[in-house]
């Protein structure tokens, strides 16, 4: 099975490369064609005739936008092979293959100012080395209608939005849910899931107002079990394959996480509302936000004994799970509570620096207390970022995020103050064909970190090869710490055709 899947991946990928038109077509031929078009332009306007008007040249080049209707079809194929680098006694995947294929149909009518985008997101992932599995799914990508007018525009459908000014960090950028099933190993915008929404944008003199209505709540996608990236990793498999009694194995096997049906049902009363007002004062771009949301990240409700075992799987917690809980207790609930989010962002330049920031106040964010019970606290985020390009073209983007919990009591895995530093460095070589970059995230009170160096080489305008790795560190109850055994290197290619 594994060989068949690999063969299909490789065949599809090479077929995509072979079918792609050569983009480095002989320069002189292309220049000649363009000069021919120029000659056509010349014939429409005599050098000495002041009143001559150039006629529009019908361009046969891909992506012609000046015709009245325009339909384009593009495809993107990403193929990635990952190899686990950290040795571990735990059950975990050693090799992983990911394939993402995204065909997109886009059309626009200049006359009616109507645009549509229709995208599919086909994903196949194969994991090998522990519990071999190959899974495929077809997701709805961005699919929306967009009516564009001079002073307003309206869209309806599955659409992604990017709000806020910080890169790689989502403080205000929460209109869409995220796919966290593979943790942070895809870029932020790649993790974003297009939810169904209706968006209105108004341009009122110098101020812009956005309303986004999300009629049905869509939660972030998380895995709780049976994956290296799941919240509780391979805990269940470890017990299943370990030398435990059948009673223990059954008790652990019975642990499930059920959805909060009331919230996830497609009801208008579960709708979410987002408002943004954007403008410029002096040389500073700013936005103000209000969001009436559900918390997209599920929080577990139910038996504290079960949660104690999951978050802190010690022998005594396992014994308590077996002896003090029934099969009903072992079904936990995903809970989502309403949030009011008030925020602002800004962006400007200061001498040679780009400066940006985000501030957000979240009312009643859910946390687990030290006894694994649910509690709700207001939360303040302060994010600041600065970027700078050195004379040798080395680009540096530095961001700092402070998280402050109001009315603090002892919480599981969260201190009153959390400081996170995100540093990104990148440099291009050979006219941008080769790019080296590194992302580093460090959370100070918890001492956990993520490092992602990457090298990408653009073979043609359509094909890019990427090599990189992810390294994690930190304690078990931090964000990155539980994934220390998952350090991996990867090789990938990305083809657009």
């Amino acid at each position: 099975m594994r060989i068949v899947v690999m063969a299909v991946f490789i065949l599809m990928s090479f077929s995509a490369i072979l079918n792609a038109e050569p983009d480095d077509q002989p320069y002189l031929d292309a220049l000649k064609i363009a000069e021919l078009k120029l000659a056509m332009l010349n014939t429409t306007g005599d050098k000495d005739n002041n009143d001559s008007k150039a006629e529009e040249i019908k361009d046969d080049i891909e992506g012609n936008r000046d015709s009245e209707t325009n339909i384009s079809f593009k495809q993107r194929l990403e193929f990635r092979i990952s190899e686990d680098m950290a040795s571990s006694d735990n059950c975990e995947s050693q090799h992983r293959v990911d394939l993402r294929y995204r065909p997109t149909l886009k059309g626009e009518s200049a006359l009616s100012k109507l645009r549509f985008v229709s995208e599919l997101d086909v994903r196949v992932a194969g994991e090998y080395g522990c519990c071999d599995s190959t899974e495929g799914e077809v997701l709805v990508g961005e699919n929306f209608l967009f009516l564009d007018n001079d002073r307003w525009n309206l869209s309806l459908g599955f659409r992604k939005f990017t709000w806020g000014k910080l890169d790689k960090i989502a403080v205000i950028d929460r209109v869409n849910p995220y796919d966290m099933r593979d943790f942070f190993v895809w870029d932020k915008n790649e993790r974003k899931l297009p939810s169904f929404n209706c968006a209105l944008n108004l341009l009122l003199r110098d101020v812009e107002v956005d309303f986004i209505f999300v009629p049905f709540f869509t939660q972030d996608k998380y895995l709780f079990f049976n994956s290296d990236w799941a919240i509780f990793g391979r805990l269940k498999e470890l017990i299943e394959k370990g030398s435990y009694s059948q009673t223990v194995k059954t008790a652990v096997e019975q642990i499930k996480v059920a959805d909060d049906g009331d919230v996830t049902k497609r009801r208008l009363r579960n709708a979410e509302y987002n408002v943004r007002i954007r403008g410029q004062l002096k040389d500073v771009d700013f936005s103000f936000y209000y969001m009436y949301h559900y918390n997209h990240v599920p929080v577990l409700g139910g038996s504290k004994i079960v949660k104690a075992f999951l978050y802190n799987p010690t022998e005594s917690n396992l014994n308590a799970l077996v002896s003090q809980t029934s099969s009903e207790d072992r079904v936990l609930r995903r809970e989502y509570n309403r949030l009011n989010i008030i925020g602002m962002d800004f962006e400007t330049t200061f001498y040679d620096w780009g400066i940006r920031g985000e501030f957000a106040w979240f009312s009643k964010m859910p946390f687990l207390d030290n006894h694994y019970g649910l509690c709700y606290k207001d939360l303040l985020f302060i994010g600041l970022g600065a970027d700078y390009t050195f004379p040798n073209d080395l680009y540096m983007n530095w961001q700092f995020l402070e998280q402050i919990v109001a009315n603090y009591i002892e919480l599981y895995g969260v201190d009153r103050y959390s400081h996170t530093v995100v540093l990104s460095l990148s440099k291009s070589f050979f006219d941008g064909d080769l790019e080296l970059s590194i992302d580093f995230v460090k959370r100070f009170p918890y001492d956990d970190y993520l490092v992602n160096p990457e090298l990408s080489y653009r073979l043609t305008n359509r094909t890019k090869f990427i090599f990189g790795g992810y390294w994690f560190g930190g304690s078990y109850n931090s964000i990155f710490g539980p994934y220390t055994d998952n350090d991996f290197v990867y090789g990938a290619f990305d083809v657009r055709f």
């Binding site: 363009a34 005599d46 992506g63 000046d66 886009k106 645009r115 990017t162």
Partner: protein, 257 residues
């Protein structure tokens, strides 16, 4: 006597005309270049070739929109192909006085428009031979201008104008060949801080469209990188009544690759 008087008047007239012809100062010429009528708005579709020293070329297709807002320009550029750059868009907004232009770059992977800082203006604009500084018009008062000669270029009589920056620039000077009739810049040599010529801009073909002299084929040659950017304009439209809303961050962020 009458004839002598007439000859004298004609002589004075000729001297006068000649004096007027030579009297144009560098600063006045720079003003004429800056204020040259190039449409209330314009649209160009451009085929761009990035050619390296081995003659290997990459091809790009882009659209350029400009609009005059009370003498100050706003420019919107969007790339249509190839696919790895499609959807990348750039917005530049001129300000009065010596305030630097505000520039934004939209990268589809980032999903939002990012402010370009002044240090990045020395950088190459999406790997072309144009820097972010080259993408903006320099206001006449930003340089000390001097006419240093006259010469034909593209079979047109030209002034040779030397411009030495008074405000922050990556160059120590620029020498431009300016068409005497249209005040269109037909060529520019760029010099670095060590006074070494580093770049050459050449207009290879101009065309009068809607009464406006328009460069339709240009080359920017970076002598250091031995790399050139050839731009061939395949479509030109002037005064189409482009909407103000086109020149906004909102428009930039609604580009979809």
């Amino acid at each position: 006597m009458k004839q002598a008087t007439l000859n004298f008047i004609v002589f004075l007239f000729i001297i006068g005309v000649a004096k007027v012809g030579f009297c144009l100062s560098g600063g006045e010429l720079a003003e004429k270049i800056y204020n040259r009528y190039d449409g209330d708005d314009s649209y160009f579709k451009v085929k761009m070739f990035l050619v390296n020293e081995n003659g290997k070329a990459r091809e790009r297709l882009l659209e350029i929109y400009t609009k005059d807002f009370n003498g100050l320009n706003k420019t919107y550029i969007v790339f249509l192909s190839p696919l790895d750059i499609r959807g990348t868009a750039f917005l530049s907004i001129e300000h009065p006085g010596d305030k630097d232009d505000t520039q934004y770059l939209f990268l589809p992977t980032l999903g939002r428009a990012r402010r370009i800082v002044s240090s990045q203006k020395n950088r190459h604009f999406v790997n072309t031979d144009y820097t972010y500084e080259d993408m903006q018009r320099r206001k006449p008062f930003m340089d000390e201008h001097k006419i240093i000669g006259q010469q034909e270029f593209l079979e047109r009589p030209c002034y040779i104008l030397e411009s030495i920056p008074k405000t922050r620039s990556q160059y120590s000077k620029r020498i431009s060949w300016v068409d005497k009739n249209s005040y269109l810049i037909l060529a520019t040599d760029f010099y670095d801080k060590k006074n070494k010529k580093v770049k050459e801009f050449r207009v290879e073909k101009i065309q009068k469209i809607d009464g406006i002299w328009t460069p339709v084929k240009t080359t920017m040659y970076d002598l250091k990188r031995k790399h050139k950017t050839i731009m061939i304009t395949t479509t030109v439209k002037y005064n189409q009544g482009l909407k103000d809303s086109l020149f906004t961050v909102r428009q930039l962020e609604s580009e979809y690759d």
